[in-house]
């Protein structure tokens, strides 16, 4: 998934809840729900199968016909996973690089986004056009050079190497610019009349108002950071500072067909972000569809 996936004014502007008006008549409702439930079931079945498998033994998994529920539920798969993968170390790597990247990106993007939205400076249009162009270039065009830089800085196989490139994001800057540009100017003008400088206005007035978009950006960046595979594979392919994605992928090579252990590992590594998503989903969807940004 590329970073520009959700970078659209449309997503940000649309999304006022429609009044009941469009809901189908109650007679048609059950048909809609039947279709949606069938589709949702198809979406969820792989997860269910994964969870069921995680509690089986590898013999049971390889037997035909397959059993639906584990004959005797066992934690052997989980034990194998924890015994062979330094889970907590890799979890710490994934988590710290995520925090670094998210905090860094939100701050850098908010500052630059505000500057693009409100400040007049020479070359503003040209620079912004460059930012937009960068949005279209796939990440593969950058990783060779980024790898060289990390190597020169002696950062290969370290947590900062995982996080640093992601801190600077044309996507984030664009998103924040869209957020700031649609805010009424009156608040800033009032604060300026009270004698507040640009940075103070930004920090005290504008940033709090942009909170929904900051949250959306933070959640999206977390998603990319937690799930990223190519970049970690390049800068941290082995050793202690592998994040979970790389660790899990290499566990596959090691275990091949011990599916209960693989499914248990996949489950454990997936859970943190799924929990975050379920807790923050309201903010997530609301942030994306926040109506205040309509231009």
């Amino acid at each position: 998934m590329t970073e520009i996936e959700l970078a659209t004014p449309r997503v940000l502007t649309a999304g006022r809840r429609s009044p009941r008006g469009r809901s189908a008549s109650s007679r048609g409702q059950w048909r809609i729900h039947v279709l949606l439930i069938v589709a949702a079931t198809l979406m969820v079945v792989p997860f269910v199968w994964q969870i069921l498998t995680a509690f089986k033994t590898s013999n049971e998994v390889a037997s035909l016909p397959p059993t639906l529920f584990p004959a005797t539920p066992t934690l052997v798969g989980f034990d194998t996973f924890f015994a062979s993968v330094p889970f907590w170390a890799q979890f710490a790597v994934s988590a710290t690089s995520l925090v670094l990247r998210v905090a860094g990106q939100v701050l850098v993007a908010a500052l630059a986004g505000y500057a693009f939205a409100r400040l007049r400076f020479p070359g503003r249009k040209v620079i912004f056009a460059l930012f937009l162009l960068m949005l279209m270039v796939p990440s593969q065009l950058f990783v060779l050079g980024q790898f060289d830089i990390m190597k020169e800085l002696g950062l290969l196989n370290t947590v900062p190497a995982l996080a640093i490139p992601g801190i600077f994001s044309a996507f984030g800057t664009f998103l924040m610019r869209q957020a700031f540009i649609t805010m009424p100017k009156e608040y800033e003008e009032a604060a300026q009349l009270d004698g507040a400088g640009t940075l103070r206005v930004f920090w005290r007035v504008m940033l709090p108002m942009a909170r929904p978009m900051l949250a959306a950006l933070a959640v999206l960046t977390s998603l990319y950071s937690w799930n990223d595979l190519l970049w970690p594979l390049i800068v941290s392919p082995a050793g202690d500072n592998r994040p979970l994605t790389v660790g899990l992928a290499s566990m596959q090579g090691q275990f091949g067909t011990d599916y209960p252990a693989l499914m248990a590992g996949a489950l454990i590594c997936t859970l943190p972000l799924v929990i975050v998503f379920i807790v923050l989903q309201r903010q997530f969807f609301a942030g994306i569809a926040s109506s205040g940004l309509k231009g």
Binding site: G15, S23, L107, Q140, F168, L230, L233, Q252, I278
Partner: protein, 280 residues
């Protein structure tokens, strides 16, 4: 205020981009400085069978994944019409998006396993002989596409859902008064007014499908599956050249070709959109 972003983007994006471009005309050894070799990398690339196969695989994968868009449109429309449970449905459809692609690949590799995967068992129940979906390169691209569609649905649903919500309710009410049925409304109101969102989703889907790497790596590459040879995508080929075989110049050339392909694909879509996208 803009300085941090500007310095970071210049150092970590603009410079790497330029260096990739330059390297694509060079032979870069693992140690020491590279030498300019003109368009050598490109001519080699064009006569490289693996490259053409990877290009074909990426193209087929991209076309197949586009089939997910009509599915997403219908589902988004259904969700919008549901009186209850909209959030629950969105959350369920979004779960694959927040799941590690590595984990997704592992789970599907198991489901699609030729010997004891659940899919082949279910197929055998209805008398269809199963195939080695993830061990036979005649099928791997289809396997990737199924997983790709499944993974991408959640994002497409949100974007299309936002588009649907911006369609004025009055249009539906007025057409209902005129006697238009639900199906008729879908084709004469929903689809045309949703076309900007559909266009956007199509552009994004194509760009990200052309960059597909994770599934190939997880489902075949990291498990030494022999089907990998016939299943590589462009980005997999790039990764392998640049970071496994350490042929940076050759890898850079692949990356530049990828950029050109994405630019052409996107340009074509912007051309075509005039014919079908409705911006009124």
């Amino acid at each position: 205020m803009i300085a941090p972003a500007l310095v970071g983007l210049a150092a970590l994006y603009l410079w790497p981009f330029l260096s990739t471009f330059v390297k694509s005309f060079m032979k870069v050894p693992v140690f020491g400085a590279g030498t300019f070799t003109g368009v050598d990398n490109y001519t080699k690339l064009l006569s490289d069978e693996d490259f053409w196969r990877a290009l074909g695989n990426s193209a087929r994968y991209t076309l197949l994944v586009l089939l997910g868009i009509p599915i997403a449109i219908v589902l988004a429309a259904l969700i919008e019409q549901a009186a209850k449970g909209r959030t629950l449905y969105r959350v369920l459809f979004f779960l694959p998006v927040v799941t590690l692609p590595v984990a997704v690949g592992m789970v599907w590799r198991f489901i699609l396993n030729g010997d004891f995967g659940i899919l082949n068992y279910l197929l055998s129940l209805v008398g269809i002989p199963g195939e080695y979906w993830v061990a036979d390169d005649r099928f791997t691209i289809y396997a990737f596409a199924v997983v790709g569609i499944w993974m991408g649905l959640g994002v497409n649903l949100i974007i299309l859902g936002a588009g649907l919500q911006s369609i004025p309710v009055e249009l539906y009410e007025a057409s209902a008064v005129d006697g238009a049925g639900r199906i008729r409304q879908f084709f004469s109101i929903t689809l045309p007014l949703l076309s900007p969102s559909i266009f956007f989703v199509t552009v994004l889907t194509i760009i990200s499908a052309l960059q597909m790497f994770d599934l190939v790596f997880v489902m075949l590459g990291s498990v030494n599956n022999t089907a990998i040879d016939g299943s590589k995508t462009i980005v997999y080929l790039f990764y392998e050249a640049a970071f496994v075989q350490f042929k940076q110049g050759y890898g850079a050339a692949i990356a530049i070709v990828l950029l050109v392909i994405i630019m052409i694909a996107t340009a074509i879509q912007f051309r075509l959109q005039r014919r079908w996208v409705n911006y009124d």
